[in-house]
């Protein structure tokens, strides 16, 4: 097996450097991705959001916690482009800081489910037999819950707070990751190159890490991107219900929730955080769709 490193033209390629076979499939994929207008827009939107999040402390015009009772519930104007909330805090600054929180919740939550899900799915698919049966029955039980309810139940046990939301989101996506990676592993585990590696005396650990995971990771990459979108939506929903970020944290779902009380007099207080959530979720959905179409348009995700 030759180890080749694909040119790091796009972020996802660097993840799969060292993947098997020839470099051409990944090059083809990158080309297909670049030709997909919607995917490129999604990529730029995600890049813009990451930039905003990392520069929030310099570009935010005001302190997101600074209250100013003189400008309570003001609509968008020159001094406050997105208006102010019920404590006179600048909504634009709060939205900018909120970008950090949402991006963090989305990526950390998905990272948790990625690690556990891929571990369970790979073990299950690779070894098969009773281990597979046990793991999959366990996954079935988790799948029996309506997803948002599962996240809600986990947060209600752990208690409100952003860290707990990340854990809840991590747990609730594990079954999906496990199923997808199990399917991908089963698809390749009897291929010749795996048999060859076995015949050469490769240990299970080596085969799993060097051959199985790199060759079954494509659908997992796509799923991760799409799941970040779901995770952000779910986290915002939990915060909206008061189970996530607590005031005065500038979390979008929580901001939207407080705006409910002023819907009639100051609709911008809940409209703008909602638009921000939608923008971020849309970005990840477009990126995920594009990745799927570039990797394998027939992928069932």
């Amino acid at each position: 097996m030759s180890r080749t490193t694909a040119p790091a033209a796009t972020p996802f390629e660097s993840n799969v450097s060292g993947v098997a076979a020839s470099r051409s499939p990944w090059r083809l994929m990158a080309r297909r991705f670049r030709r997909n207008k919607r995917a490129m827009v999604g990529l730029w939107m995600v890049a813009a959001l990451i930039l905003l999040a990392s520069t929030a402390q310099w570009i935010a015009p005001y302190d997101p916690y600074q209250q100013n009772m003189e400008v309570m519930l003001e609509g968008p104007n020159l001094a406050h482009p997105f208006g102010t909330d019920e404590f006179g805090r600048d909504i634009l600054s709060r939205i900018l800081y909120g970008t950090q929180i949402s991006l963090m919740v989305g990526t950390v939550g998905v990272l948790i489910s990625l690690v556990f899900g891929v571990f369970l799915g790979t073990v299950s698919g690779y070894f098969g037999g009773w281990l597979d049966s046990i793991i999959m029955r366990f996954i079935d039980i988790f799948m029996a819950f309506p997803s948002f309810l599962l996240a809600l139940a986990i947060v209600s046990v752990l208690g409100p707070g952003m860290i707990n939301v990340m854990i809840a989101i991590g747990i609730f996506s594990v079954p999906t990751f496990a199923r997808i990676s199990r399917g991908a592993v089963i698809g390749i585990k009897n291929k010749e190159f795996v048999e060859a590696a076995k015949a050469m005396g490769g240990s299970h650990l080596l085969i799993i890490f060097k051959h199985i995971i790199p060759n079954s990771i494509a659908p997992v990459i796509v799923l991760s991107t799409l799941r970040i979108a779901t995770a952000i939506l779910t986290a915002a929903g939990l915060s909206f219900l008061g189970m996530g970020a607590q005031p005065p944290t500038p979390e979008w779902g929580a901001m939207l929730s407080t705006g409910r009380g002023y819907l009639r007099v100051a609709p911008h207080v809940s409209t703008i955080p909602g638009l921000a959530i939608m923008f971020m979720v849309l970005a990840f959905n477009m990126l995920g769709d594009g990745l799927r179409d570039a990797l394998d348009p027939k992928m069932k995700l």
Binding site: S147, F148, F240, G253, S270, M278
Partner: protein, 306 residues
């Protein structure tokens, strides 16, 4: 078919037992002492101990669980700590609201999703297709609680057409079910489009067109019928999504359904109520998926159950 149905029903049992164990473990690891909460913070240690005994919280967990399952089999979900009435009774009061909301949302979802999917698939890669698919991407990305608030703003506050909350009258269900249904319809539209596109290129469609069958008949009778399996699957899965979405929508629209009941029970640490309601929703979800599974052969005679 009957054997398959029986087999599937039997397979449901371990899943449901697993679900009950999971919910039981989860609820019992909630930090805080429900006995102290109910007895009140100024209660003496003796009162709290009495309350603990009354609730059976002083017994070993395994005993509590077997006791719980024993009651479950008798249809007894325990008593709510808040209202002191049976949890099943509390659920049954609120279930009609949630199921009405969910069914109406499914109605919106199927009508909007199917139509958008068919319109897209019949002219793939056209401007119409791109427009619909972009719209559905927006639909998937929209937080359902935000959409609900925007609908209230528009239809209740500005146009004064529909009520913004409550769950007593039919008109109060229109906005919330539209809000939940619309976001799910986006997923359905995408799926309808892709499964129709897969079918539309097959030979029997070309034959039908060559015979001079009208395009509308080709699409609705020949193509759609063959693309129904994935569509039905997603309707079943979305049922769970809608049940979860009900928690948010019922809160936004102040509806007295199961979703809001869960939130209130969590806030009060009314754990028999949380446990019962979550279990109830999961059981419904499992049953709906079973029904969906059994529907496959009705829709597509080629499906054989083994």
């Amino acid at each position: 078919m009957t054997t398959y149905a029986i087999k599937r029903v039997l397979q449901m049992i371990p899943t449901l037992i697993g679900v009950s164990v999971l919910v039981f473990i989860m609820i019992h690891s909630i930090p805080g002492d429900p006995a102290r909460l109910i007895a009140g913070y100024d209660a003496t240690e003796q009162d709290v101990q009495l309350m603990r005994e009354r609730l059976g919280l002083d017994q070993p967990l395994i005993y509590q669980y077997t006791h719980y399952v024993g009651n479950l089999l008798k249809g007894d979900l325990g008593d709510s700590l808040r209202s002191e009435r049976p949890v099943l009774h509390e659920i049954m009061i609120r279930f009609p609201t949630t199921i009405k909301l969910t069914l109406m949302a499914i109605g919106f979802m199927v009508v909007i999703g199917l139509l958008a999917g068919i319109f897209s698939a019949t002219k793939p890669n056209s401007r119409r297709d791109n427009g619909f698919m972009m719209l559905s991407l927006f639909g998937i990305s929209m937080p359902v609680f935000w959409l609900g608030l925007m609908l209230i703003l528009l239809f209740s506050y500005y146009f004064k057409l529909l009520p913004s909350g409550g769950s007593d009258h039919f008109s109060q269900f229109i906005l919330p079910s539209f809000a939940v249904g619309l976001s799910s319809s986006a997923i359905l539209a995408r799926l309808t489009r892709s499964s129709l596109l897969e079918v539309i290129h097959q030979d029997f469609i070309r034959t039908a067109r060559a015979k001079g069958v009208k395009e509308r008949v080709v699409i609705l009778k020949h193509a759609l019928k063959n693309a129904l399996i994935p569509i039905i699957t997603i309707v079943g899965l979305e049922f769970g999504h809608l049940l979860g979405g009900a928690v948010l929508t019922e809160t936004v629209f102040s509806m007295n359904g199961l979703g809001r009941f869960i939130i209130q029970s969590i806030e009060y640490r009314d754990y028999p109520a949380v446990q019962g309601t979550v279990l109830f929703c999961a059981a419904i979800f499992v049953v709906v998926n079973l029904i969906v599974d059994l529907c496959y052969s009705l829709v597509d005679p080629r499906v054989k159950y083994e």
